[in-house]
């Protein structure tokens, strides 16, 4: 049995009177791709924002065996819990290179960073050509590639991706999911994936949870959920 990386117990998030996440529990084990699927407003992004300490929450969260509650956002990053946020969170006023350097903001090992940047360029050759351009000039797909590369440079122990397929052309979506699978298979990267694109997410995940209006209603292996009637009806168009 592999090691538990992330354990979430009874997580609740409120925005004033709005209960966005109503006490959910889930976990991620080392080497897994786990996805959290659900429709608009289900509470997926709120869950990830809470885990990154961007918003207040209640419940027990532990990462690599240590409690995460009450730790400042920048210190969560230091522990290796990295998030590529919804909408990608690219710094549009900075160059592509600066965006990548910010991914490695907390690191001191300059020579490794250089090597890893080159590995990112192997994954996404287009980034290399645009290195000195303002990130604001990139297309949506290129921005998502930049966002993922930047997160990789943060040396994630667990990478949380919030809707990496959002707003992208089908061809690019396929490419992004190929990379997600590759990072997991070849580099053993553990991934928590949040998606509305349930079909793609379930096919790429070991396990998945279905989130509906702040509650987990179903969970199981990726393929099992993919072929289950309930999920097919609700998320995969019958």
């Amino acid at each position: 049995m592999s090691k538990e990386i992330l354990s979430v117990q009874d997580l609740k998030v409120n925005y004033g009177p709005i209960e966005a996440v109503k006490g959910i529990s889930f976990d991620v084990y080392e080497g897994e791709v786990v996805s959290l699927i659900g429709s608009n407003g289900a509470g997926k992004s709120s869950t990830l924002r809470a885990l990154s300490s961007l918003i207040a929450y209640s419940g027990q969260v532990s990462f690599l065996g240590e409690p995460l509650n009450g730790i400042a956002a920048h210190k969560v990053v230091k522990k290796g819990l990295i998030q590529t946020p919804e909408g990608r969170g690219i710094f549009l006023n900075l160059s592509v290179r600066e965006n990548l350097e910010l991914g490695a903001f907390l690191r001191k090992d300059r020579s490794n960073i250089k090597k890893e940047m080159d590995q990112c360029f192997d994954l996404f050759p287009r980034l290399k050509e645009r290195l000195n351009r303002s990130a604001g000039t990139l297309s949506g797909g290129e921005q998502q590639m930049l966002a993922i590369s930047r997160s990789l440079l943060s040396k994630p122990k667990l990478l949380m991706l919030d809707e990496p397929s959002l707003g992208l052309a089908p061809k690019i979506v396929l490419q992004i999911f190929e990379i997600i699978k590759k990072l997991n298979k070849e580099d053993g990267l553990s991934i928590l994936l949040v998606e509305q694109n349930a079909a793609m997410a379930l096919k790429s995940s070991h396990r998945a949870y279905v989130l509906e209006t702040g509650k987990i209603t179903l969970s199981g292996k990726g393929e099992e959920l993919f072929s289950s009637d309930a999920v097919r009806k609700a998320y995969l168009g019958g």
């Binding site: 961007l54 400042a72 956002a73 920048h74 990295i82 998030q83 710094f91 549009l92």
Partner: protein, 300 residues
């Protein structure tokens, strides 16, 4: 013609000072979307820090570059501390509060410092210690260049160049630019956002400290309300350039100084201060985003 050149020189001098102070407003606005009205009082306290430290150090007994540099260092340190304290005590607890609340707090802090200044220092003007002597440098025809003119322009330029270097060529500057774009995305990079905001207050306040020494030398009467008018004009300069934009603050400051000098020279000195507010109204009507600003529609 010679008259005109003299006015340009004077205007640039005034403008360099507005620019230094405008940079403080614009930098804080960039990271917090807040008009830090207390910035003018940081500047005032910088001037008083030299007045009081002179009682101990007697720098004005040995006017010269050493005394000048020491004065700049003292003012920069005192202003940074004041700026940091204001941020920590007044603004940080309101992070995430509605913008109007923070704005009212800023005005409150500004008034608090003005009136505490009057209570502690006395309302009567004091004489700023002359830690550097003004000399006639060049005189051709009607044009007179004095050493203070060159000092003010030179020191302001040096301070702005240093700021440019810090913001665009250091890791810290890159982090500050990231925070300007998005605080939450910056913290996802492991950037300590509160620390960067503090640094912005230190940088902006330091420039106000430099400005305080330069103004003190040129116009040596200082009093607890001295920040009000110059602060307001520097703020208008920042809006003119496009609030949030560093080059905008510099250009806005210079334009403000030049036009004020020209108004006084060719129209009437009674319009000196009206100009700033006239400009503000014109900008807000015709180009609310300023010269260098990007116009952003308020999201609802």
């Amino acid at each position: 013609m010679e008259d005109f050149l003299q006015h340009v020189l004077n205007g640039l001098n005034l403008g360099a000072i507005y620019a230094l102070i405008a940079l403080g407003y614009t930098m804080v606005y960039g990271v917090l979307q807040l008009i830090n009205f207390a910035h003018a009082e940081v500047y005032m306290l910088g001037a008083f820090s030299i007045y009081y430290s002179n009682k101990w150090l007697h720098l004005s007994d040995h006017p010269g570059w050493t005394s000048f540099v020491i004065s700049i260092l003292i003012a920069v340190m005192v202003c940074s501390l004041v700026g940091l304290t204001i941020e920590r005590l007044a603004y940080r607890p309101l992070r995430g509060a509605p913008r109007l609340n923070v704005l009212i707090t800023a005005i409150g802090v500004s008034l608090f410092l003005q009136f505490s200044g009057q209570a502690v220092f006395g309302a009567d003007p004091k004489l700023f210690p002359q830690v550097l002597q003004d000399k006639d440098l060049i005189q051709f025809g009607q044009i007179q260049i004095r050493s203070f003119d060159l000092t003010i322009i030179g020191v302001s330029l040096a301070a702005m160049a240093l700021l440019h270097f810090l913001i665009h060529h250091t890791k810290m500057g890159m982090a500050i630019r990231a925070v300007r774009h998005s605080r939450s995305s910056a913290s996802l990079m492991g950037i300590n956002v509160d620390l960067m905001i503090s640094l912005v207050f230190v940088l902006g306040s330091s420039l106000a400290g430099v400005g305080a020494v330069l103004v003190g030398l040129k116009y040596p009467k200082i009093d607890p309300l001295m920040g009000m008018l110059i602060g307001l004009k520097a703020f208008v300069a920042a809006v003119l350039g496009g609030i949030g934009s560093l080059p905008g603050a510099v250009v806005g400051g210079l334009l403000m100084g030049l036009s004020e000098e020209m108004v006084v020279a060719y129209l009437s000195s009674t319009y000196r201060d009206a100009l700033a507010f006239g400009l503000l109204i014109v900008i807000l009507v015709f180009r609310p985003s300023g010269l260098f600003g990007k116009y952003e529609v308020e999201k609802v």
